[in-house]
């Protein structure tokens, strides 16, 4: 480790501990780390947005090939983007709405077809299961569970009818499926979250303490 790296590791380790102190309670060290984090991260995205979004998508195409048929629409993009700033001019502040309107319009359009084609259809097709399990009793049971599960959950989401009687019972079964799914997914996620903590502890123990000891010539 170079001196500069060791210095950086120390800063990183101290900031790690500052944030972790929040687990005990809110305190000035946490507040310091929180404020620094907010500032640094916003600055980080200023750099990333300029370098990875605006530079390659707007400036470079215009600089390299000038205004052509292919790049012409980028002027429109720039105008819609700049129009967002009209909110700072009180008289025409409502101009900014148009940019939001175009942005939202485009994406709700995309989302609409993508949700119907990419989610509803394949998920529905996957639920059209062979309830005989092709002769295998286990497969038949699994197919039946999936079939009932999907239908009862859909019934739970039915808004137009009061959930009582048979409908209410089916919707209740749907809730049980949801709870079973949520519980299982919760239990399944624990491992990944603990791995993240192991990562931080490894950093503190191996890179920070170990690295410092190594730099001081103690230990291996």
């Amino acid at each position: 480790m170079t001196g500069m790296e060791l210095f950086g590791t120390w800063i990183a380790a101290l900031l790690t501990l500052c944030l972790m102190s929040f687990l005990y309670k809110d305190n000035p060290l946490f507040r310091f780390a929180e404020a620094l984090f907010a500032g640094v991260s916003l600055g980080y995205y200023i750099g990333i947005t300029m370098d990875q979004t605006l530079r390659p998508n707007l400036f470079e195409p215009l600089r390299d090939s000038g205004l052509t048929l292919e790049t012409g629409h980028l002027l429109f993009a720039g105008l819609v983007g700049l129009n967002l700033y009209t909110r700072y001019v009180p008289k025409i502040a409502w101009f900014a709405r148009s940019s939001l309107a175009i942005y939202v319009g485009y994406y709700v359009g995309i989302n609409m077809v993508q949700k119907l084609q990419g989610e509803v259809l394949p998920q529905a097709a996957a639920t059209m299961v062979d309830l005989t399990g092709g002769g295998s009793p286990t497969d038949a049971l699994n197919a039946l569970v999936v079939f009932i599960g999907v239908l009862t959950v859909l019934i739970y989401f039915f808004f137009s009818v009061e959930h009582k009687g048979v409908f209410g019972k089916a919707s209740r079964v749907g809730i049980w499926f949801l709870m079973l799914g949520f519980g299982a997914a919760f239990g399944y996620t624990v491992m990944g979250r603990i791995s993240l903590l192991i990562g931080r502890i490894n950093f503190l123990v191996i890179q920070w303490i170990g690295g410092t000891l190594q730099a001081l010539g103690i230990g291996g």
Binding site: L116, Q117, F147, F159, S160
Partner: protein, 259 residues
Amino acid sequence: MEYFDSSRLNALVLLVLFCVFVLAFIQRARSGGNLFIRRIAGLNAIEEAVGRATELGKKVLYVPGIMSIDENQTIASLAVLSHVAGLTARYGAELDVPNKDPLTFASARETVKEAYLHAGRPDLYSDTMVHYVTYDQFAYTAAVSGTMVREKPAANFLIGSFYAESLLLAETGQASGAIQIAGTAEVAQLPFFVCACDYTLIGEELYAAGAYLSREPAMLGSIKGQDWTKAAVALVIVLGAIFESIHIFPGLKSWIGIN
């Protein structure tokens, strides 16, 4: 026709069916048809939560998710925000809307401003209610967690598109003693909201929330249309499963499933 992508014919059929159902029910609702929509627990609790914040003299915290307005969940969240802001305006409770996405921030400000105007209390509106924090998911979470612990809002709304920060926010809010109403369609985050919040709008309930709260005929009609499409999809699933089980019309499943 040479340009039409025939592999997407199934999607076109569904789209047309869906639009016909929704438009027909909007029309029916506008001419005074049945508008019954079942109770959605989390939504009925909103007024109580805002009321409690008012009594305690504490603020209402509204987190509109971490995604931009290119995500439908964010639009759905802003519709709920419009309602919540209307309530804080009427009750005179303090509202705080921190943002991670700058476009959501710009939109949320318009939404809240209009809600205060509509409630007849533009005097109570302030530009500092809706503010920007940072673009990073976890830095944003750290800041909002700090607010929860320091200012102890009486009601936390966590509604929109959330990722890993869902549990960080919900647990911190839980520990600070707030009533928490959450809502998301992110399947992976639902378990955490269900475990750590008082009420959770699950998936489709989030999208329906704005319409439910607005009580407008056109909005409610669209929910009915969506319900009918759902019934049609369920029917096709049942038919498909029967066909698969007795091995007839294998084409149905593959036609629906092609992507």
